[in-house]
């Protein structure tokens, strides 16, 4: 048995090393490294690119109106992938809630009701709770900034949601989120479902072209449709069409989903 595992490890190592010998050298990916050089102010020339990534680099800004090309890939070109990943996250959150629900049920009625989270022996110092409250406001503000400016600067729904979920962890360990954990979870799960529903709903609004098509880009400036010039520029907050809306929906889903995971696991650990 040990021989079999050792042989399988040797085989895995051999496959991995043969695999990296066939990869392209680091720093020389496929495509034209000077993809911006020969373009200038010319009109979008789709034929003059070799690879998909070069197409995104050359045309992503003018087509979607988003300065952040990663966001344009996540929420426009490959938004269907993002829908799948949001669904995976939703299923994970549902599974964790379900598993811990059965665990709490089995323990009997005395621990399944209102929890006793936060009743540390001796309580928590007021310095910790007040400082956590101040930090909570700052972290939430930063998270919202990341979500709203996802199409202009580094950020987006996933990162902003994760940042805001860390604020929930701060609330939990400083015992500010103490009362009525079941009610808190209900509110959180409502907003999580709302985020995913908004994402799918925005996808269906654009179904005249295709599912999740960016029907608002380069259109009405009042509806996130302000056109953007090619090249480095600060960009506009009301550009990029449906991209900020999808980013907001994903941010909502990630924030509340991760918060449900944190609250549930903390609840279960506390009841031990």
């Amino acid at each position: 048995m040990r021989l079999a595992s050792f042989l399988s490890l040797v085989l895995i190592a051999a496959f991995l090393f043969v695999g990296i010998l066939r990869l392209h050298p680091v720093g020389e990916p496929l495509g034209n490294p000077d993809v911006f050089k020969d373009r200038g102010d010319a009109i979008t020339d789709i034929k003059n690119v070799d690879t998909m990534d070069d197409y995104y680099l050359r045309n992503g800004q003018t087509e979607t109106g988003s300065n952040n090309l990663v966001a344009s890939v996540v929420f426009d070109y490959r938004a269907f992938d993002t829908l799948g990943e949001a669904t995976v996250l939703f299923i994970v959150v549902s599974s964790i809630s379900m598993l811990f629900f059965t665990m709490i049920k089995r323990k009997g009625p005395e621990t399944s009701g209102v929890s006793r989270i936060g009743e540390f022996p001796g309580g928590v110092s007021r310095v910790i709770t007040f400082g956590s409250f101040l930090l909570y406001i700052l972290i939430i503000t930063f998270g919202i900034y990341l979500v709203v400016h996802g199409h202009l600067s580094p950020g987006g729904g996933f990162q902003g949601g994760a940042v805001m979920a860390s604020a929930t962890a701060l609330l939990l360990i400083s015992s500010l989120m103490t009362r009525n954990v079941q009610k808190t979870k209900k509110i959180f799960s409502f907003f999580e479902s709302l985020g995913l529903t908004l994402f799918i709903g925005i996808g269906f609004v654009g179904i005249g072209v295709s599912f999740l098509s960016n029907f608002l880009a380069n259109g009405n400036p009042l509806l996130f449709g302000k056109a953007i010039a090619f090249g480095p520029n600060p960009g506009y907050l009301v550009s990029a069409g449906t991209l900020p809306l999808l980013s907001l929906a994903i941010g909502m889903e990630v924030f509340f989903g991760l918060s449900i995971i944190l609250v549930t696991m903390y609840h279960a650990a506390k009841d031990e």
């Binding site: 990296i20 680091v26 990916p29 800004q61 952040n68 490959r78 995976v88 090249g231």
Partner: protein, 119 residues
Amino acid sequence: MTDFFLYVTVVLLIFFGMVALIYKRNLIKIVIALNIIEAGINLLFIALAYRPNGTAPIFTLAPALGELKMVLPTPQALILTNIVIGFGTTALMLTLAILTYQNNHTLDIRKLRGVENND
């Protein structure tokens, strides 16, 4: 040539993750092993997308078009979502480990021979 060691790092991360996955008996350590493999895969994607002197694929505050070089955006987008998914799957695996411990009072996979009193 020195850049090649980035790929070697990827292989070592995945390989050590596999070693831990096969030889470790504790469920928590198996979860950590899967996270190490995931880190190796993330590093592989970022290394595939790398260009020397390339900026992040964001036009805000980027250099002028003449000397502009950007790393490829698509692998970064994939890894961006993979990190959040990795968080979720890790939480799910840890949940299953907690439930396993509550049912069997052990995390050693060699002692998990089925549940005797399955009420």
